[in-house]
Symmetry: C2
Subunit: 284 residues, 2 copies
């Protein structure tokens, strides 16, 4: 692949960071497991333009682990380019002006934990390019039994990343996260929040990229600390039942409200990829 991917452009640097982050997160998570290891599922797409105007090329790697601590964790990297369908071009910033051409790369992570006292977690950072370009992402915690000190530790880590970027970023992205990860039909938040941001383009792309890296690093630093705190907490069948019902709410959010999932349904993506976030076992 002696191609454009070798160039030191922002999109290539972003993709390189995401894949490196994927490697480091997976290695760190495996340290918690005595024998379980991530299964790697590399994939390639080379779909010619169809009648809707959609063309998709690129590759990625899904990594999935079923362990005794991480009951189900998916850490996916993808780097795709092509053209959006004519209909979709109208909805994506700058896509009409690029004749639908885009590139998108990112890492997406969802982890469902065996111990009900270890919170589930979601993290995603991504870069999109049409005639415009921007970063997006976020990270949030979904405990069944929230501990104030875990919530504080997680938010402090995210705040640290935000503070390095812009004084009011944390308040803004925390608020966005609270509004986004909310189940209106239940009148319940999905979890205890975190940060969420999109269409990030301040005019200083290096600063934006540095912020996204800081979020990834903060996540990689803080989540294992929370796992370590709770991993040995003993639990009853009843605690585990509560976890399974809490996961039902997670499913409701992800199938009904989550943008990534909706994007997957709308674009005919591989369900094994965009439904990676589904918990391994759930009750209602």
């Amino acid at each position: 692949m002696q191609t454009a991917t070798e160039e030191n452009t922002i999109e290539n640097r972003a993709a390189a960071f995401f894949t490196d982050l994927q490697n480091r997160i997976c290695a760190r998570f495996e340290e918690f497991e005595s024998s379980a290891r991530f299964e790697r599922v590399p994939w390639k797409k080379d779909e010619p333009e169809d009648e809707t105007g959609k063309r998709l090329n690129g590759s990625g790697e899904r990594r999935l682990m079923t362990g005794s601590v991480f009951e189900k964790v998916g850490v996916n990297f993808s780097d795709v380019h092509g053209t959006f369908s004519h209909q979709f071009r109208e909805e994506i910033p700058g896509a009409a002006e690029s004749q639908g051409q885009f590139r998108a790369c990112g890492i997406s992570l969802v982890s469902h934990m065996a111990n009900p006292f270890v919170p589930a977690v979601h993290m995603n950072v991504r870069f999109l390019q049409t005639s415009k370009s921007w970063f997006g992402g976020g990270a949030d915690l979904t405990p069944t039994f929230p501990y104030d000190e875990d919530t504080a530790l997680f938010h402090d880590a995210m705040k640290g990343a935000c503070d390095s970027y812009r004084p009011d970023a944390y308040a803004e992205y925390k608020d966005y996260c609270d509004r986004y990860f909310y189940l209106p039909h239940r009148g319940e938040p999905r979890g205890v929040g975190g940060i969420f941001f999109d269409n990030l383009n301040s005019g200083d792309q290096e600063a934006d990229f540095a912020f996204v890296r800081a979020v990834g690093e903060a996540y990689l630093d803080v989540y294992p600390k929370i796992v370590e705190r709770r991993i040995d907490t003993s639990f009853t069948d009843e605690d585990r039942e509560k976890l399974l019902f809490k996961r039902g709410r997670y499913v409701e959010f992800n199938l009904v409200y989550d943008r990534g999932t909706k994007f997957g349904f709308a674009t005919g993506a591989d369900p094994e990829a965009f439904l990676m976030s589904m918990p391994p076992i759930v009750k209602w």
Copy 2:
């Protein structure tokens, strides 16, 4: 309640049939259980008109049983009236002309079975009235391990109800069912089908109502026969696992595509009611 509900109108007769059907279905299902019985949750709504133009009055009864044969079965009856929101009036036939006034009554049933060889089942019949009035409903089977003879028995029963109504009704409603209960993102049907119909108003309301009664009676007759056939089939842990994964598809359909569920999300209904269809335990 010495009110309009005493009158011998089509809507009152429909409501009376639905509540009677609920009673008979629940009684029949309880015969399969040694000790489990339906829990009854009666409810009443008396919500004054809100800023969207929505007003809701009425009552109903949810019946839920957790048994050893019927792992989770909900049989809900409701009879509500009021006004639709201004926005919703545009979408419902005859609602603009009725100034949003409506009455809706029906029975809705979803059953998830403990034995993986007993198919899950859904049945719903309903009557709606605005300035127009119509029946809707259907019944379909979702086996994890389809038996051709069960599929045939179920379809024959539905065909019998349809044939008493109109020669081409079965072909039409079976086709509608196949198109509706389909998961495009999986490229899979939800189950082995049945019948599905809506906006049923042939001009002969008595004939329409007789058909809807026939569907209800056919369901009540045929489903217990299928349960009886399969109830004593022994199963392995692996069979049960397949059931739990099959239920994941059921959840995907109901949260993403099912109209009743979408209606529930859109109207701010009680999630315990419109998410009654969620299986008790599910795997992905």
